[in-house]
Symmetry: C2
Subunit: 90 residues, 2 copies
């Protein structure tokens, strides 16, 4: 599930539809910090990222923070169970 | 476990020692956003907070982002399994 600027979206199809609907074509991510912790006995991993977003044609970068909760699959891969995104307004 | 500005600290005693050692006596939290999501079948909860910190005697507020992973106990309470804190520098 994704919480994007407070908007709650569930299901991979809905999340793809939301991200595809964002009103820009290009967005450059510049990562400032990455912190990780194991999330418990199920083998998940928490990833906390902060940095800057630069939209094409915009002069100023936007600061953001985002967290992901990655869960393991039986195949040895991970999927994103939780995703929370926020812009950090000045 | 706590990750504080990239520093990893494990165990409640070590975490209390770290938080007690911070070089100020008063810090006012002003919360701007709170987002929550369930973290999986174990009944945990992810809480993502952003806002401002105002230290006593400082003119400018510091922006911060922080996430908590709360896990349930058999007694019906929650404990903090994961805590990641970052200042968001301009």
């Amino acid at each position: 599930m994704l919480t994007f600027e407070g908007q709650k979206i569930q299901g991979s199809q809905n999340i793809v539809a939301k991200l595809s609907s964002l009103p820009f074509q290009q967005c450059q991510h510049s990562i400032t910090t990455v912190d990780c912790q194991p999330s418990g006995p199920a083998g998940g991993m928490l990833v906390f990222v902060s940095g800057n977003l630069q939209l094409a044609g915009e002069q100023h970068a936007l600061k953001f923070s985002q967290m992901f909760h990655l869960m393991p699959t039986p195949q040895g891969t991970f999927y994103v169970l939780n995703d929370i995104f926020r812009l950090n307004y000045a």
